[in-house]
Symmetry: C2
Subunit: 188 residues, 2 copies
């Protein structure tokens, strides 16, 4: 099969199954590149932003919250859904303030992560936040979480030891570490 | 709020919305830690395995395939859903053979990734595959993909440049790079 050939799948019909609070579900009838029929289950999600808040001395603010699908407390970086019309950098700033009560003088874009390309439309935009200054934490009425703080190198070890498994947290912390190391190397 | 407090959410009722081919959807009525009611939308998925196949000279086999939710060709590591009753290491070996036509003498477990802890039960197990020997590629009838090969350091740069955005691919390649670097450092 030739490289760069577009193996496009064509939509024939769409059945909307569920319209919800944080996600929708649709099931599409499609045509495969070989002309055969198949279905595609697609979970629609409006997108999110996440942020690695790093202090001057290399500490990272994390949040630990109950995650219902796993029935356990999960350690993550601050993150949240984009409000309608909101640009991702504003989501990152808002979540930083709401969840850990910090503002950032410097916000560096670190790219996007697509949690599950096979069946989920969600894109999460990743940021590195520096120049942190404290402000009031503003959790939603129905939001409950603990704030924790770790040296970034301890988080790398926790990722390598499988103590951190949330996808955006793994991707954003490892990218933050490389970003910081590369900046340091460029200065020397 | 005290650290380590379990902020548990209790299930009151479950409504099954959709039972599908690769996922199910349910919507639960729950009680929050403060006693108030809320709903939780949960996408159920049976889990998967992915694998970073690295050659002796540091090249990584990748696959590029059409991903319907984004209507584009996406660069990823080999991966696939676990068959019912299959252990994740067998899934990794099977996908390695089916998608890129390789067997691995050495398979190293690199932990798990949860693509979206807020509403998705999927867990993807990550492996590093070494000691590769060629065998026949065995794609499903309805599976279409291109095999590509990159130096691992080029993939790191592509991740940093936002050319790779698939969550399992970012996490597994960055963890593979650290694993290989740590092994090398331990030998010297």
């Amino acid at each position: 099969m030739k490289k760069n050939t577009q193996l496009t799948e064509k939509t024939v019909d769409t059945k909307r199954i569920y319209e919800g609070k944080i996600l929708n579900l649709r099931v599409d009838d499609i045509l495969l590149p070989n002309g055969r029929s198949a279905i595609r289950e697609v979970v629609e999600h409006g997108g999110a932003a996440c942020v690695v808040p790093v202090t001057e001395d290399g500490m990272v603010y994390m949040v630990r919250q109950f995650r219902y699908p796993f029935n356990e407390m999960v350690l993550e970086i601050p993150a949240g859904k984009m409000d309608p019309g909101e640009v991702p950098s504003d989501t990152a700033k808002r979540e930083l303030e709401e969840e850990i009560g910090q503002r950032a003088l410097e916000l560096t874009y670190m790219g996007e992560i697509r949690p599950s390309v096979a069946y989920l439309t969600e894109i999460i935009h990743m940021y590195l936040a520096r120049g942190l200054t404290p402000t009031a934490q503003k959790l939603d009425d129905d939001e409950f979480l603990h704030i924790e703080k770790y040296p970034i190198d301890a988080l790398i070890d926790m990722i390598m030891d499988n103590q951190i498994s949330d996808s955006k947290t793994i991707a954003a912390i490892l990218k933050a570490k490389i970003t910081l190391d590369r900046e340091k190397a460029a200065k020397n």
